[in-house]
């Protein structure tokens, strides 16, 4: 019964937070990409940026209405159409305009896969309305992944491009590791209890790293945060993450990542 979990206050609060986090990141990613429609280094890049921005904003469009149907007091309002809001539930990397095309590539290569990792764990959610949207969004995202990988490879072909991309990776990837939250996060436990999401914090983080790290290494980039693959454990290892600098509610660094 889809409605039963709504009586679980902890699960309801957690799903509201998850939806607004996913929607805000989609919204800002779309906004930032749209600003590069006229600044991409090629006509093809500009057209692709327009298509990607349109889809990211479209994904936000179908996620925000879910907030309105959930019986949660003080739920955040959608950011669309210039609606202002004090709290922004998006990673620090996307809330301000990007200063270069390399930032756009880094955003696509490192933020989009994190969001997709979460959607992959929502396709069987007991919240059917969210599960249906997750499956449809993932269908559209395959093109984004292919495009991002191509641009990463393209940038890494020159030492200048590789250096600029490395700077973005150094600043952004540690924040994305934080984004999946500390292991055994209470809200996540509530979501799992109600069958609203599959996996858990560290499972998501490892899945994300499996997706993004091999490409970065393949094109000659270094992994920050002392990230390395432990063959014995078949898992990625990393240094202690700076949880004290991370806002758990808005799921972002309190200070903007230095890039």
């Amino acid at each position: 019964m889809e409605r039963d979990w709504m009586e679980d206050d902890a699960a309801l609060a957690a799903i509201v937070n998850l939806i607004v986090v996913l929607a805000d990141n989609k919204y800002y990613l779309g906004r930032r990409l749209s600003e590069w429609v006229v600044g991409a280094p090629s006509l093809e890049g500009a057209v692709a940026a327009a298509a990607l921005a349109q889809e990211e904003l479209g994904h936000a469009r179908v996620l925000y209405p879910l907030l309105e149907e959930l019986p949660f007091p003080g739920r955040p309002s959608p950011l669309e159409r210039g609606n202002g809001r004090h709290r922004r539930y998006a990673v620090s990397f996307v809330v301000e305009p990007w200063s270069s095309w390399v930032h756009a590539v880094a955003g696509l290569a490192l933020i989009d896969p994190a969001i997709n990792t979460m959607f992959e764990h929502l396709t069987d959610s007991t919240y059917v309305a969210l599960a249906r949207r997750a499956a449809r969004i993932l269908q559209e995202e395959s093109f984004h992944s292919e495009y991002a990988e191509g641009r990463v490879r393209e940038l890494a072909e020159t030492s200048e491009g590789r250096c600029a991309l490395q700077s973005c990776v150094d600043g952004l990837l540690p924040e994305m590791l934080l984004w999946f939250g500390p292991q055994h996060e209470p809200g996540v436990e509530a979501l799992r209890r109600e069958g609203l999401i599959a996996g858990e914090n560290e499972v998501w983080r490892q899945r994300y790293l499996n997706r993004v790290a091999p490409l970065l290494l393949e094109v000659g980039l270094r992994l920050p945060a002392h990230l390395s693959w432990n063959r014995t454990r078949s898992a990625w290892e990393y240094e202690a993450l700076p949880w004290e600098d991370w806002d758990q509610l808005e799921r972002r660094l309190r200070r903007k990542a230095k890039l």
């Binding site: 349109q54 994904h59 469009r61 179908v62």
Partner: protein
Amino acid sequence: MIADGSEGDGMAEERGLTVEAIISALSEVYDPEYPISIVDLGLIRGVEIDGGVVRVKLTFTSLGCPCTELICDDIRARLSRIGGVKRVEIEEVFDRWDASAISRKGREVLRNLGVI
């Protein structure tokens, strides 16, 4: 845009409200970007009639489609012209869409335009 109906609304009323009549009317609602109906484009995923209430299940070619509201407005406008329709409810169902959903007639139109 909405094409002019080839049959009068009175005819639909005479037959009573049927799913076939609704689909026929929806075949006159065109995609705002290509001259192909939303039925031939494969956007319609279900029609239910409950008294004077018509429920249409709809998906879009892309979640980022800029014409979603326009298409919904056109559906409401066309179906409201059918006698006996008191209310039109549209549900976006988020079904997967790809080119295989386009009808043979739709493919022909798009092929002639050089789109596919």
